[in-house]
Every structure is written in structure tokens, then in C-alpha cells.
Symmetry: C2
Subunit: 750 residues, 2 copies
């Protein structure tokens, strides 16, 4: 399959290279190259620039795509180049433009716009349909879902192979459709999905199973593997190996141990080496934009950074405003998500329609706004680069006369990476007009908010970095008379402040920015600005990922107990009449209990005649009970025969099954006769469960539950002469909604 896609790639490359050669041929043989309209190349009338717009609008989006994920115990490598898709799209658009061009020569403005918006709409519809009809779980960033999974919430199909498929292609189509979305969040989710696929030993449904991948059939190793996958995602997306480790540590993982640190580090080290090698191989340009930029994507190493007190004040101001804007961003995203939820729940059709509406709006803005902006003469010494042809380059001509460029179109109608690179450069202070920066900021800020939440895979990093960088550069321009700092540095600090204000990470963002820009000297300022914006934004609301987790209703366990929990004890919240089994229990009773409830753990109690008084024996899991019932190791007498069962069972029968692949109660066929027989639960009982006394403070119980990563916590009575177990605490019993529902008079803040 890999080979085939490669062949395909080469074919298409041949095509696009031929096309590029034609363009450069035109350019080489005379200075009139740029007035040669592509839409009607056979004619010699060379005055219209609109045709160039049509040609130039094609290669708009960020497409230097890489999917490199590597895992600790073995190296698995998926190298996906969007380039393929991109080149198909480019060819398609050119052909399309040409056809349209022959039809309507009168109103070329509209013709170009329709070509642009139409291509975008088709791609957007493809992304939206994939998402809405095949895997709704693939919509959005994916980081909140991965975070919830690593907290212990295995929600439906979050990491399923179908989600993986849609995440990859949906993200490619979404980014290519010109939405204000990034690829970083989806890459984290993709990494986690691949890790999950490997952890399950492949997918039985899609006939992809590997026997040698059976080491991860337990929760802890699978969790570790998925953490490594998320880290690999960040490492590949930002080409930032250390940043990936820290992201996994700070944002993704809920439990951390030194072994995991070392495994994540190993994973991202392999990602770094593989990336490095691939970049080296692609340096010749065979892989499109992939080889460009090297390991450091935005190299802004700009000599020593000196600063004075006014500069520091300017940076503090930047941080405060960035924090406020970030908090506002989160607030608006929350409102928009709730509004979209009302539309999306009506059905997949409505989801796709919403995607199409947003796509049309984006196209209108991206195509309409540059008309407002004025043309700027090309800087001296930039001949051949300004205005730029082809997919890369930071000077876009748009409607401007020769040797001029439109600075807003250079930001809007460009790849995201090139837009960020232009904003970060310190090359010339006047490269962007103040009005351009303001318009671009408003465009990215608003469209970023309304785009997140539609049914496409959409990362938040790129919109936030773009908005922050334009905001920072704007502030830099406005504060020019006060501060001596470079506008490029202001732009970087603006991006940092905005990231801090929305995502509320510190160390990982700091290292990611460092690895993106290779400028260690500005480290103190970046740290400062991150801290200020995070502190300011924390006064208003939670980080955007936490907010989405809450909004999705996932029962996320915080690592601290809520204050009011100190006034309650364990037995105050533990749920009502408890279902428990004897050590040797009737099959019918077990079957009935499994059928009637959806509990995952059942207490097993040792009773006379096997012990003197009734005692807590342990906890039996639903999945293990099902395996035991399926094995039909029953006995007609009520006697202990556990050792027999142990001999006939294999450990791997009880290994954790993949997502949705475990036994179900309806799969079992048990005759009436068997229902009257007995089964010894001792072999499958966890006889050493964690327990708490019923009088333990709920806050302490919550911390115990969270720190040890439990699923069931037995509550035992304090006074003698009562049944040996009071109840079982689960994750839901600690959720604020549950506790405050039981005790509505409690003040949640005390």
C-alpha cells in the first residue's frame, strides 16, 4: 500500500513539475512573465492581473505536512505527505480555472473568486462529510479527548481506527480548504490513535492484526503508549522533541512517573532523528514544502536581545492584554461551541451545511479583505522574490501593479507557515501596515472562534499563533516610539502571550516556542510574558482544553479535591443498595446482576460456611465474570473449586480487550440447568482492593482515588456488626455535579 501511494506521488509530481517548468519558462524568457495570464495562456493580451490572482490563489494553505510517529518498544513509522493531495488539488484548480476562464472573460473578478471559493467549498465539504458521516469523534482538536483518555475516560470511539482515518484525511482537507485551523491538535490525536491501534495489537475489524503487538494488554502500558503517541504528535508537528515531552507531561498526562518520562523522551528522540533524516532526504525539493525550514521552522535568531525598563513595561502590557484577549477567546469559543451543538445535534446533514457556510464565509473574507489594503512597493534588493510565484514566498501580488505587493494578501493567501514566518521576521519595520495587521488580527481572531466547533478536525495552535503574532506585531508598531525592541520579537512575544492566555501551559509552550524559533536569548522575556498572560487569563476562566472537556461532559478527575468535599465523608456520597456476590455464587444470580445493571465491579463476600463471619473477599470485574461464565466452569454443589478453574484458565483470556471488543452479556448462551449451578468466584476476584473507612473525609478519598488512578474504591464500615462493605465509590461519585446534586445546600466554594 505504501508503494502504491509512492508511485502515485511520483506521477503527480511529474505533472506538477511540468506545470511549474512552464511557468518558470515564461518567467525566464522575459520580464513580462507576470503579465502572462494563466487563465487564457494562449492569448497575448497581458494587462490583467486578475488572472494572476486566479493562479496565485491556488497554492494558499499550509501543506508542509508530516506524520511521523514513533513508539518506544519498536519503531513504527507512518510518513504521510499531504503534498500528494495538494498537488492533485492544484492541478485540479488550474484546470478548473482554465475552463472557467474560457467561459467568462467579462467579470474575471467574480470568476477568480468563484474558482477560489469553489475549490475551498469542495474540499470543505469533503472534510465535513468524512467527519459527519464516518467518525464524528474526529471533529475538533482531539487534545481534550486525549487528555480525558489519559485521565481514565475511555469514551466511545475516541481512538478508534475510523477516527484515525478521518482525522488524517479530514485534517488535510480542512487545512487545504483554507479554514483558519491548524494541524497540530489533530496530529496529537493521530499520534494517540496510532498508539492505541498498536496497543491493541491492531484492529480486528479492519483485518489489521499483528501477533507481536500483544504486550500492551493492560491499562497502564496502554496509557503510557498513548502518552508517547501524543508526545510524538507534538514533536512531529512542531519539530520540537523536547517540547513534545513537556507537552505530554504538562497538558496531556494525568499520571506521571519517571519511567514514562524516559519512554516519552525516547519516542521523541526517535521522531527527531527520523524527521532529521527525512528533511535531509527532501532537501532536493522532491517532497514539496516539506524539506524547507529544516528542524527549526521559524529561525528568527536575531543577535543579542537587549532591553531596558520601558521595553519590560511594554512586554508586561503585551502580556496583560494578551491574557485578557486569550480569556475572551476561550469565553467566545465556549459560546460558539454551545450554539453549534444545537445545530450539530440535528444530524450529519446539518453538520455539513454548517461546514459549508463557514467555508463560504472564510473564502469571502480571505478574498475580499485584500482589496481594502493598499499596494506596497517591493523592497529594494528583493528582485525575483517580490512578488513571489509558486506556493512559497512572502510577497503576494494580488491586484497590485508590477513590483508591488499586497501585504494583507501576503498573510491571507499564503501558507500558514509562511504567514507566521513573515510576522516573526524583523526584516523591515514597515513591511506590514498598521491597518493590515489590525485587519488580519480581527480576521484570524473572529474566524478562529467560529471555525472551531464545526465538523472538521481543527487545531487551535495555528489560529492562536497567527492571531497572537499579528497582535504582537501591531503592538510593536504602535509602541515603536517607546520601546527599542524589534517588531519581530514583539510578534513572537504576542504569540506567546496569546498561547499562554488560551492554553494556560507554561514550560511546554516556552520550550516549543524556543524550538520553533531557535532564539535562546529571548527566553527570559518569553517566560515573563507567558506567566503574565496565564495569570491574567486564569482570573477569568479555565484553559480552552479544560473548558472543552467540561463542555463535552467527560467526567475528568482534577488532581485536587474541591473545597466543599472536606465537609463530607465517604459514606455521604456512596450509592444506595449494593449488589454483591458470595464467594461461591449461583450462575443465575450473576447472570441476572450483569443483565440488570451496567456496573463494572462487584464486591465478593466470603460467607459462612467458608469463613467464620462474613468478610470482604474482594472485587470481581464485569469483564472477568463474563469470561468465567463463558468458560462454563460450573459445579452442581456449593463448594470451592477455585484451583481447578485456575488450572483450566489462561491468563490471556482475561487480558484487556480492545475498544468495544470485549464480551457482552448478550453473547452468552446459558441454559436453564446451568443457571441453577454454582461458580467459584475466587480465582477472578481481586482480593487486595484498596479500601477506605466510611468516615474518611471525601476530599481525602478523592485524592486517594485520583492519585492511585483507581476505578473502584471499596468503602468499609467503621463499626462492627454490619455487612463487610458499605458501597463502592467510582469516578462519578466524585463529580461536583453528583455531590452538589445530593447536597444542594452546600456552598461549592467553601
Amino acid at each position: 500500500m505504501d508503494d502504491r501511494s509512492d508511485d502515485h506521488d511520483i506521477e503527480v509530481e511529474g505533472g506538477i513539475h511540468a506545470y511549474e517548468r512552464k511557468i518558470s519558462g515564461i518567467l525566464d524568457d522575459g520580464s513580462v512573465g507576470f503579465q502572462q495570464p494563466l487563465l487564457a495562456r494562449n492569448r497575448k493580451n497581458t494587462t490583467s492581473q486578475i488572472a494572476i490572482v486566479g493562479a496565485n490563489t491556488c497554492p494558499i494553505e499550509s501543506l508542509d505536512y508530516e506524520y511521523v510517529f514513533v513508539f518506544p518498544n519498536f519503531t513504527f513509522l507512518l510518513f504521510w505527505k499531504t503534498e500528494t493531495i495538494n498537488e492533485i488539488r492544484l492541478l485540479g484548480r488550474v484546470a478548473f480555472c482554465r475552463v472557467i476562464g474560457n467561459f467568462l472573460e467579462i467579470c474575471r473578478y467574480f470568476q477568480a473568486f468563484f474558482a477560489f471559493a469553489g475549490c475551498n467549498l469542495i474540499l470543505a465539504t469533503a472534510a465535513g462529510s468524512l467527519c459527519a458521516f464516518i467518525a464524528p469523534a474526529a471533529a475538533g482538536s482531539g487534545i481534550p479527548e486525549v487528555k480525558a483518555y489519559l485521565n481514565g475516560i475511555d469514551a466511545y470511539s475516541i481512538l478508534a481506527p475510523s477516527t484515525l482515518f478521518v482525522k488524517i484525511f479530514g485534517s488535510i482537507f480542512g487545512v487545504a480548504a483554507g479554514f483558519v485551523v491548524g494541524k497540530e491538535g489533530p496530529m496529537v490525536h493521530t499520534g494517540a490513535c496510532i498508539a492505541n491501534l498498536l496497543g491493541q495489537g491492531g484492529s480486528r475489524k479492519y483485518k489489521l492484526t499483528w501477533k507481536w503487538l500483544r504486550f500492551f494488554k493492560n491499562d497502564r502500558d496502554r496509557r503510557d503508549l498513548i502518552t508517547c503517541g501524543a508526545a510524538a504528535g507534538v514533536a512531529a508537528a512542531f519539530r520540537a522533541p523536547v517540547g513534545g515531552v513537556l507537552f505530554a507531561l504538562e497538558e496531556a498526562a494525568s499520571w506521571w512517573r519517571s519511567a514514562l518520562l524516559w519512554r516519552t523522551f525516547f519516542t521523541t528522540a526517535v521522531v527527531a532523528v527520523v524527521l532529521r533524516t527525512l528533511i535531509e532526504l527532501c532537501r532536493s525539493g522532491k517532497c514539496g514544502l516539506f524539506g524547507k525550514g529544516g528542524l527549526i521552522m521559524f529561525d528568527v535568531n536575531s543577535g543579542p536581545v537587549l532591553y531596558s525598563t520601558p521595553d519590560l513595561l511594554a512586554v508586561v502590557f503585551l502580556g496583560v492584554v494578551g491574557g485578557v484577549l486569550g480569556g475572551l477567546y476561550n469565553y467566545l469559543v465556549d459560546i460558539v461551541l454551545r450554539t453549534y451543538a444545537l445545530i450539530n445535534e440535528r444530524g450529519p446533514g446539518f453538520k455539513v451545511m454548517l461546514v459549508m457556510a463557514v467555508s463560504i464565509l472564510s473564502s469571502c473574507c480571505a478574498f475580499g479583505l485584500p482589496w481594502i489594503s493598499q499596494c506596497t512597493p517591493c523592497p529594494i534588493g528583493s528582485e525575483g522574490k517580490c512578488p513571489s510565484v509558486g506556493r512559497s514566498g512572502i510577497y503576494k501580488s494580488f491586484q497590485c501593479p508590477p513590483n508591488h505587493y499586497n501585504d494583507l494578501s501576503s498573510l491571507l493567501l499564503n501558507t500558514n507557515d509562511d504567514a507566521i514566518r513573515s510576522l516573526f521576521t524583523s526584516r523591515s519595520e514597515n513591511e506590514f501596515q498598521i491597518s493590515t495587521l489590525a485587519m488580519f488580527f480581527v480576521f484570524v481572531y473572529c474566524l478562529g472562534i467560529i471555525t472551531y466547533g464545526i465538523a472538521i478536525p481543527s487545531g487551535l495552535f495555528i489560529p492562536v499563533i497567527l492571531a497572537g503574532a499579528s497582535y504582537g506585531r501591531l503592538v510593536g508598531r504602535l509602541l515603536g516610539p517607546v520601546s527599542q525592541l524589534d517588531v519581530g520579537l514583539f510578534s513572537l512575544l504576542g504569540a506567546a502571550s496569546f498561547l499562554g492566555g488560551t492554553m494556560r501551559m507554561t514550560v511546554s509552550l516556552c520550550v516549543i516556542l524556543l524550538e520553533l524559533t531557535n532564539n535562546l536569548l529571548m527566553l527570559p522575556l518569553v517566560m515573563l510574558v507567558l506567566l503574565i498572560s496565564k495569570t491574567v487569563a486564569d482570573c477569568f476562566n479555565k484553559g480552552v482544553y479544560d473548558q472543552i472537556v467540561t463542555m463535552k461532559g467527560l467526567p475528568y478527575m482534577e488532581d485536587h479535591a474541591e473545597p466543599y468535599m472536606r465537609n463530607l465523608v465517604a459514606k455521604d456520597v456512596v450509592a444506595g443498595p449494593l449488589l454483591s456476590f458470595s464467594r461461591v455464587e449461583k450462575v443465575g444470580v450473576i447472570w441476572q446482576a450483569l443483565k440488570m445493571t451496567s456496573h463494572n465491579g462487584f464486591p465478593v463476600i466470603d460467607e459462612p460456611p467458608f469463613t467464620e463471619a462474613s468478610e470482604l473477599c474482594g472485587i470481581a470485574l464485569r469483564s472477568h465474570l463474563l469470561v468465567l461464565l463463558q468458560g462454563k466452569r460450573f459445579s452442581k454443589q456449593k463448594t470451592t473449586f477455585g484451583s481447578q478453574i485456575l488450572r483450566s484458565c489462561k491468563a490471556r483470556d482475561f487480558a484487556k480487550a480492545g475498544l468495544g471488543k470485549g464480551l457482552k452479556i448478550d453473547d452468552l448462551v446459558i441454559s436453564d440447568e446451568e443457571m441453577e449451578m454454582y461458580v467459584d468466584l475466587h480465582p477472578i476476584t481481586n482480593t487486595s482492593p484498596y479500601t477506605v473507612l466510611e468516615t474518611l473525609s471525601l476530599a481525602k478519598a478523592a485524592i486517594l482515588f485520583r492519585q492511585l488512578g483507581l476505578r473502584h474504591l471499596c468503602v468499609v464500615p467503621k463499626t462492627p456488626g454490619r455487612p463487610p462493605i458499605v458501597g463502592i465509590l467510582t469516578r462519578h461519585d466524585f463529580m461536583p455535579e453528583h455531590v452538589l446534586g445530593l447536597y444542594p445546600h452546600i456552598d461549592p466554594l467553601k
Copy 2:
């Protein structure tokens, strides 16, 4: 006091500047400058170079010293310049040399050597005496002690003010005495000591108390503060703020939570900003070597790093050998420490004698070895820099003729920072001869091993980096024909491999090296080499800090349970007959119990008539019992009067006292009459202690104990009809020595 020391500083600077002007004056007025013997400056006989040795030996050691520590909730700044000490020493030596010079002109070799060794010996004796007589806890690196403290082991005077004092001055004297020791470990310890001092609200013993510093009177906040202190230490030592956070996370802290990450990050951000400002202020040269180098100490940003397969193989080889050498280093350090322990335990006098012996040995080697090395002609274009005068500079003349330098003396008789910088540079491949590198490597490796463990504050980072860098450069020279990588890069990778092999950290070392050298492009190689060397070395033994913790007998709790613990249950290790109190207990009984035992926690049991059956009420701490007894809130009847006590007590009476400042049982004066009275323990009982059933697996109990950071864990019976508590598990009950002592037949590896 600060002002006075500043005045002093300026005076001395005036002196030393005058002296330097004289030297440069001599140099300025003719090329014979270097043949002008300092020891007899009034004579015109200018042939001997030995006098120059005498002059040049003075400024030998690394003295660009900074102590900057900043804490989260307020900023406290201690800025200590060793320069003062250094300049005094320099002046003293010059005077000394001059006197000696007039006496013995015949054997100037010996005269210079005696001047050199004598100065070293005096400084070494000062450092050793401080350590041996005032604060023995200040000896060594301090990182293992901080690590143990953060794991919950509050060993005697680890963080006391006297330790702080000796750590600062002892480290200055030790580094100045020319030992192969670093200042990084001591700076981490110093940071932790200052944090502890602040956390206690100052020191009552030394009359330094601050009322406004009373927020940290609980274990958790104090632990957090000390973690921040350790991070600030690393951040200041390496000028690596992010590295500091990661060091605290990876090596120092045992418990981590997101709030702590954010606090540490804040601390190191302030360190970075303060450091940056101070460096800016010192750029004029007023602070000696402090202002040099900027925020990045060894700037080796050397353009793109390209590598091929042979290069990768060379790097893998480097990593493997580095790992083996690192493991061997740890093994030898362990042996040497055990040997020294036999000498040191005989008394402070022996300790000082050991320090003196090692000092003489170091001086002999440092002065003797350069004689073996050949003179190298100065590289073209280095006029004025080669040979170098003054404290800084990388070409030292030693016995060589004019325009030549001795490359071994440039490494041995130089500041550590300059030696590392020379090793990391790629300037010229032939700057160091292979024999020089080999000799220097053996010198640093061996002396590093025998120096660690003597009674001076001694960091391990610098010796390990020096040995690793010389080993790496040596390998680079030897593999020159095979690999195209730069020898400077080899040197850096050698240092990384050696650090990975001894300290076994990954992410933090990687980031520290990055922040030291500002070369992001070599990140993949550094990650690779760190992983390889750590993996190789882990096959042999534990990391050097873990080894020292074990050797010191500190009961460190690992974050995983030992394998054999799965075969035991809690009641198997819980200690024998338990002492417990009734809820309303006789004063005499409590007094007796506190007097007779050294337990820190006592179970309190509710008994009839207050309850129906006897129940576990909770745990009372020794310190709280002492406060209660001191308050003399007794009653003649055996009734509950807890609410009365609560009203008359203040929370701050029970706040955690500073180190060694709590009440002691002998401080209490209780009359015989009072001994017969009763006291209600309910107000001071923790009624919500964590409990485990006696049948819980010991491994699970250990994980519970470790993860929640407990001090006491109550074991309750499973079967009814027995006393409500079986015993209390403490840290010592989980130590392998204890468990294996109880069950000697258990195989520790199963």
C-alpha cells in the same frame, strides 16, 4: 552588611587594578614583558620563565560565581560574588610570591610550586575546617540530601542555617583551592537551604526572623518552596531557567503537581530576569568574570550540523563507551566514599587531614603534568591573546618560550569555565594534542573520583563535564578519519554521554546542555547519546545520586514497590505490640508513652462509655500531644471536654515548627497531681487517617504510602471482634532491609 562588603570590594578592586595595570604596563612597553619575573621585578635578568609560572598560577580557578535565588511568593535576592575572595587571594599570593622570591632565587621551580601548592593548601584547609568543625552536613554535593528531603526524609541539619553558611563559603574556598569540584551541586543545596530558611520564617537561633514569612508552616508548602529553591539553584548555576525546572522535576522532586510546575517556572523566570539584569550591569567588567559569557555560557552555535551514517555510528560508540565509563565512575565513587567514611568517622581532625592530602596531590598533578606536555606555537592571528595574561584566556604560557603555549596547562591551570569552553570550541582541530587530551581526561577522571567525598562542598557536574568533554574530543580526534563531525561537537556529545552515564537524567540534561551551548541543531544527537549512555550505564548500577542516598542510609521511598512485596501483606511487616490512647486519657499515661518511645504518631481509640464498641478514632501526633500537655488543659473527671480545649487553643500553636525547634518531652514540667488528671485528645486527633486492611498486599500499601506522601498508615483488621487497629506502617516498614530482615528466605528479585 551588604554596603560594607561592597566598599571592601571596591577597595580591593582598586588594588588589583593597579596591580594589573603594572603588569600590562610592563607588557605594553616591550615584547620582553613575559620574561619579566614577577618574583624579582626589580632585577633586569629576564630569562627565567618560572617566575611567570608563579604569577600565572595565581588566577587558576573558576570564580565567576553567582548566587541568585528567587522564590515564588516574594523575591529574595542574595548576590554573592566570590570575586572579592578571589581578588584578596590573588593579592595575597602575589605578595607571598614576592617575599619568597627574594629569599630563594636558586630553585625557582620549587619556589613557584610551593607558592601554588601553599595557597591551595591554605584555602583547602579553610574549606575543610569549616566543613568538619561547623557543619559536617555541608560536605559533598548536597543534591542527594535535597532529593531525600523532598522524598520526606528530614535528616538532621540538612538545611540548617549553619549548613547554608558553610556551603557558600566552603564551596568558594573549595573551588578556589583548585580541587576538581564544581559549584553546581552546592548551589542547588544552597538554594534549598535559603528556601528552608524562608519557609521557617527565618532562624531564631541566629536572630533572623521575619514575621511576614509565616505562610509556610506546613509540610506541603515547605516542600514546594524547597523544590523551587533547588530549581533556582540550577537555573542560576547553569544560567538555564528551563533546565532548572526540569531538573527539579526529574531529579529532585518526588511528588509533582501542576501547581508546583507553575511555581518552579515562575521562580526560574525571575532568576533569569535578575541574572540578565545583573549580567547587563556587569558588562563593564566591574564584577570580574561574572559579566562574561552572557546568558549562554558556552556559545558553540556553529552553523548547520549535517551527519551521515558513519557519524551516527561514531556517536553511538561514544554513547556506549560514555555509559560504561559513567557506570565505572559511579562504582569507583562508591568505593572511595566507603573508604573515606572509615577515615572521616575518626573525627574532624582526620577529615581536615584528608582534605589537605588530596589538596597536595591535586596541586602536584596540576603543576607536574604540564611539564610532560610539549609547547605548541601560538596560532596565527592570535597576537595579544596568546599566551594570555590575567585570569581569563585559553592559552597559558607555563614553561614555554614566547609565542608558544602549553596546551595541558591551558586546561589544568585555568578556570573550569574556560577549560570547558576551550574543549567545546571547534576553532582548530589541532589545538590540543591527543596525548594532552588523554592526560587531562585521566587526571580529571581520577581526581574527580578521589575528591568527591572529602569534607568540602563539592559538585559533580563540573568534573563530569570536564572528563566527558576531554574524552569526547579525544574520541573525535581519533575517529577523525571516519567521521566528518566537528571535534567541538564530539566534545559536547562526550560531555552528554558522561553526564547521562553518571547522573542518569535525560530531559533535564538535554535542556541544560541546550541552554549552555545554544545549539538547537545538535539536539537529536544529544538526545541519542544521552539515551544510549543512560541505557548502557543502567545495566551496571544506579545513578550517582541514588547511590549516595543509599550509602548514607537515608530511607528513600522509591516510586515503585519491590517485586517481592507482592507476596506479602500489610500485617506481615507491621510492628509488634501497639501503644494506643483512649479518647480521654490519663496525663501520666501519655507522658510515659512519649518518654519511653520515640514514635511520632499514636492511634487514638474511642472506647465505651463514649461509644458502643471500641472504634478507631484517629491518629494523634507527638508534636501536637506535647503542645496539648504544655497547655495543661486537663480535667479531673474522665469526660469529654474537647470543645472547651478547641476554644482555648490557637491554630498557630500547632503549626509545624522549624527544624529542631519543636517542643521536647523534657521541656515539660508536670506535677504528680496533674499526672493523675485526664485530657481529651479529640481536638488534636486526625479523625480521618488513611487506613488499609491487614490483608492488603504490601506492594499496594507501599504505593499508597508513597503516592500520597504519608507518614503513618493505619492497618485495620479484616475480621470483626478484634482491637480496631492492628498497627501503624511507617516509612521504615517498607525499607527492603527491614522486610528482608523479617523474611530472610524471600528472593529479593522475585
